[in-house]
């Protein structure tokens, strides 16, 4: 990362850290969200990162964007930043004009196109109730397309995930898209894997925060007259937490590096599979170290563990990518070591 990029990230991190208290995260539980930070992000150009110049991009690449997304995960930012930026990513990937207002997206099957009009329903669409636009996959006998839809024309039923984040049902009845463009099979896999990278970024951020909270707690909390981090079994939990955190962060950085090198599908698959395992361990040991206090709403730990428990079942998850790799291994006569060291076919 260049120095300029580090400045952007520093700025994003500071904005989030200074403005997102536990109460701000809790806004979601009153069906509100962090409009203030959204405005700050707009003012400081955070929505222009990794956008092409012709659409008003201010520089920055996908890696920078992923790092900002990671920071929104680290602070549980209650706003659709990842969703809006990924929606625009989808529009750019299909050569459509991007949007300025709040957008969300879906890559699941559920909408179909007939006579240029879209109908169907999609469940668990992130932040739909607060969004102006939806960028969604639409299927028809012509193949898969990506459409930009005005959510004023949609029926939206509210639903929430385990962390009270909006996950709504969107119903369309013969709605004309604002724009629409085809998506090839190859592009579909490309967008699915970038979507997965966004998720990995969010997860990594939340994991970093759980690590910080938990280490802090283990230093402050005393039992039997000693700080709990002095007990071997707590040390074991801490070491496991450190191990899984290191694995997750390293996996995320390697995903970023792989995206730069354009050869990343399998790396994203491995990262997603592994990070879901990390989530199981991390949420479990973090809660075990905290004991009862961690189960209370008043304490902040759950703002991160509940997100992880939801996010791991969003998008294309571990079973999907396991299936992808198993298919690949079955269909290709590859030497495993060459595959793992990325030297397939080289002698």
């Amino acid at each position: 990362m260049s120095e300029m990029k580090e400045m952007i990230l520093d700025a994003a991190g500071r904005m989030l850290k200074e403005n997102i208290s536990k109460d701000v995260v809790d806004l979601l539980e009153r069906d509100d969200w962090a409009r203030g930070i959204w405005a700050l992000f707009e003012e400081t150009g955070m929505f222009n990162v990794a956008i092409s110049e012709k659409h008003g991009g201010a520089g920055g690449d996908l890696e920078d964007l992923l790092h900002i997304v990671r920071l929104t995960g680290k602070y549980a930012a209650p706003m659709p930043y990842a969703e809006s930026t990924f929606a625009n990513f989808l529009l750019e990937a299909t050569n459509q004009a991007i949007v300025k207002n709040i957008a969300t997206y879906s890559l699941k099957e559920g909408f179909h196109l007939q006579n240029d009009l879209i109908s169907g329903s999609l469940h668990n669409v992130r932040w739909a109730r607060h969004a102006d636009y939806l960028v969604a996959r639409v299927d028809s006998f012509q193949g898969t397309q990506i459409a930009l839809i005005d959510l004023q024309k949609a029926t939206i039923e509210h639903s929430n995930n385990l962390a009270s984040e909006p996950r709504d049902t969107i119903i369309l009845d013969k709605v004309k898209p604002i724009s629409i463009a085809p998506l090839s099979e190859e592009q579909l896999f490309y967008t699915l894997s970038i979507e997965t990278a966004f998720k990995i970024a969010l997860m990594t951020g939340a994991i970093e925060r759980i690590y910080e909270i938990t280490v802090q707690y283990s230093k402050k909390r005393e039992q039997f007259g000693r700080p709990i981090h002095r007990f071997q079994l707590v040390q074991q939990h801490l070491a496991q937490l450190a191990g899984e955190t290191a694995i997750a962060i390293t996996a995320f950085h390697n995903v970023c590096a792989a995206i730069q090198s354009k050869d990343f599908l399998h790396e994203i698959a491995f990262a997603r599979i592994r990070i879901e395992d990390a989530i199981t361990t991390i949420t479990s040991v973090a809660h075990q170290i905290h004991a009862a206090i961690g189960m209370t709403h008043e304490y902040t730990l759950h703002q991160y563990t509940r997100r992880l428990w939801s996010w791991r079942d969003e998008g294309r998850n571990s079973p999907f990518w396991s299936n992808y790799i198993a298919d690949y291994l079955l269909k290709h006569d590859v030497d495993l070591w060459a595959y793992l060291t990325k030297t397939i076919g080289k002698k």
Partner: protein
């Protein structure tokens, strides 16, 4: 040391099991309750508790003269299993039935037994258990809530925390310090008092659970008067009495079946999807449940013959392994059946998944953390 009896249920016991099962099924059909994960702790429904009391299913093993049925420990085991497997809302009377009743039968005065037990058995009198305090956690011996002797009773000052369902309970059995705290002899000078939660000076403050639910509390005591006849057992003997109480609660089916409903839905979904490979993977969960259940039933059978010493280790093992099993079910299930956990989902699988995920971290914390249990088991092993 692991020679636990095996149990083949008798025809009478099977008939009783089916009676309970049919009763619960009928009430699910009627809409009396909606099955839920971890309902033994979080499913508070006083009207359902009264219904259970009317059936004679609270205090099942107690003497008839105190409102019990004088049935066997195994009958009670069966009853409890069926409540858990059906996800019935038995939390209101749970602690009174599981802990307070046996405690009073063993240590209580005749007056206490006659006054409390019949009410509990009717499902009309609920007890909270007052152990943890803000700075005690796993270190129960460091309890600071104190009772000072006055004419005709005690004046209690202090605070309890993580008290399950205190907000619907009538009384609390509280472990309090009746002699001053002595760093060197932390375990002595503790006593168990029955405190009327409606008494003057008692304040109950809800603690919101991470999911927004409400099942535990802080309970504050500000000069609360407790009459002499509300002391349980011997003054100063509270630690030993409390330990016996804890051992009793470790090995029950509620340490195995808190997330059973999810396992059942998992098998249903896999069968429905004809996913044989998923079923093969899920058989590990069934084998684990089978094995734990044998262990738990063996302990129950041994407890019936009064061998409380021999069961301390196996009972702790049931809790240590059983609660991890309960936690493992959502983690394994989500990899076998596609899901999006949601507390309001229409599909049972997604709803139970959400309930299980949010409650699971508690399983290895409440009633003695796994870490504490490991230490107790190891100490018992090397002392043999």
């Amino acid at each position: 040391m692991f020679q636990l009896p095996t149990v083949q249920f008798t025809e009478e016991q099977e008939a009783f099991r089916l009676e309970v099962r049919n009763f619960l099924q009928a009430h699910i059909t009627k809409g009396t309750f909606t099955p839920a994960i971890d309902s033994w702790l979080s499913g508070v429904d006083p009207s359902f508790s009264k219904l259970i009391g009317e059936k004679g299913w609270i205090g099942l093993t107690w003497p008839k003269k105190y409102g019990g049925q004088e049935r066997s420990t195994l009958d009670r085991y069966i009853l409890t299993e069926e409540f858990l497997a059906a996800g019935a809302p038995v939390a209101a009377h749970w602690f009174a039935d599981r802990q307070t009743g046996p405690l009073l039968l063993r240590y209580g005065t005749e007056e206490q037994k006659q006054f409390f037990l019949p009410k509990i058995a009717k499902g009309e009198c609920y007890f909270a258990i007052g152990l943890s305090e803000p700075n005690s956690g796993s270190d129960l011996a460091s309890i600071r809530t104190k009772a000072e002797k006055v004419e005709g009773g005690w004046i209690v000052n202090g605070q309890k925390i993580w008290t399950s369902n205190a907000h619907v309970c009538h009384y609390m059995v509280a472990l309090v310090r009746t002699s001053p705290y002595d760093e060197k002899k932390k375990h002595s000078g503790l006593s168990q008092l029955i405190i009327d939660l409606n008494a003057e000076g008692v304040t109950i403050v809800p603690i919101k659970f991470l999911s927004g639910e409400y099942h535990f509390n802080e309970v504050f005591f500000d000069n609360v008067f407790v009459p002499d006849n509300m002391v349980v057992g011997e003054t100063g003997n509270g630690w030993e009495q409390g330990l016996a109480e804890l051992a009793f609660e470790r090995s029950g089916p509620e340490r195995i079946l808190s997330t059973y409903l999810l396992l059942e839905e998992l098998i249903k979904e896999l069968k429905h999807q004809k996913n044989k490979d998923g079923l093969k993977q899920a058989t590990k969960l069934l084998a684990q449940l089978w094995a734990l259940r044998n262990l738990s039933i063996g302990v129950a059978k041994l407890l019936e013959s009064g061998n409380a010493e021999d069961v301390a280790i196996p009972a702790s093992l049931v809790k240590a392994i059983g609660t991890k099993f309960e936690q493992s079910i959502p983690e394994i299930a989500r990899l076998l059946v596609e899901t999006y956990p949601n507390l309001e989902a229409k599909r049972k699988f997604d709803r139970y998944m959400a309930q299980a995920i949010l409650h699971a971290p508690s399983f290895t914390i409440r009633g003695g953390t796994t870490e504490i249990l490991y230490g107790m088991v190891a100490k018992g092993m090397v002392e043999k």
